[in-house]
């Protein structure tokens, strides 16, 4: 029961992050929302693993956090140039 409540609270947090990613006026709001979404996915997988009592899926959470990190590094590396362009155009 406690894991179900935890999973649904994490899903509500994911909804909030998604709304921020949609509204987000700047690139960095969206980057932060995406990073938070990835972290919440890792937590959701852990909660679901304990909810369904299949803890061998926990390896998947490790892969997800790695992917989140790689994607974030790539995003920030490329956003460096585009953010500068935006500032110049504004």
């Amino acid at each position: 029961m406690i894991f179900l409540v935890a999973a649904i609270s994490i899903l509500i947090t994911m909804c909030l992050a998604l709304i921020r990613a949609m509204l987000g006026p700047t690139v960095f709001d969206r980057v932060l929302a995406l990073n938070m979404f990835g972290t919440k996915t890792v937590l959701l997988i852990c909660a679901i693993c304990f909810l369904t009592e299949r803890t061998d899926f926990l390896d998947l959470a490790l892969l997800y956090s790695l992917m989140n990190f790689i994607g974030m590094v790539a995003l920030l590396r490329f956003s460096h140039h585009t953010a500068l362009e935006q500032e110049v155009s504004q």
């Binding site: 061998d56 998947l60 790539a74």
Partner: protein, 187 residues
Amino acid sequence: MIYIDIIILTLLAVTAVTVARIRDLWAAVMFTGIYSFLGASWMLLLDAPDVAFTEAAVGAGISTVLLLVTLALTSKTEKTSTSVPFVPLLVVIGTGAALIYGTLDMPHFGDPSAPVHTHPNPGFVERSQPDMHGLPNVVTAVLASYRGYDTLGETAVIFTAGIGVLLILRREKKSANTDDSTTEGTA
């Protein structure tokens, strides 16, 4: 459990509509990343950890990076079209209706009398435990071990494609360099 399914499917639909509607391509790439994470979670809920692994590695990891590299080479915003696209809408609705019609014949999720559970030799289920030294997931055993050569071939194909792309991109840069050197030589 059903609440989690409903919320994740709703979030998937919302993200897909946002990707289609947003005009800032930079933000659209981020939403495809969110879509991949959600899709992989959904596959995990359907008891398909292997597909979820692939989706997380390819969808959230590599394709995001590839799309970002493409965006760095092209423009950042999408052109706004003035005409209302009726023909693409009809094509999409037709394809969607055909796909939904196709799912009507499919067995229900987890149906024990489904062809996939009865038709192939049940020996896979019986023998995979001793063959794989107690690997709990039969699908992983089939994918990673029984079909190991197939997976090796797929990896070789993708590796060859990657080398081809790298060679094409490098040759352009090199020819620009040789052009410079020839002009310098003539000058």
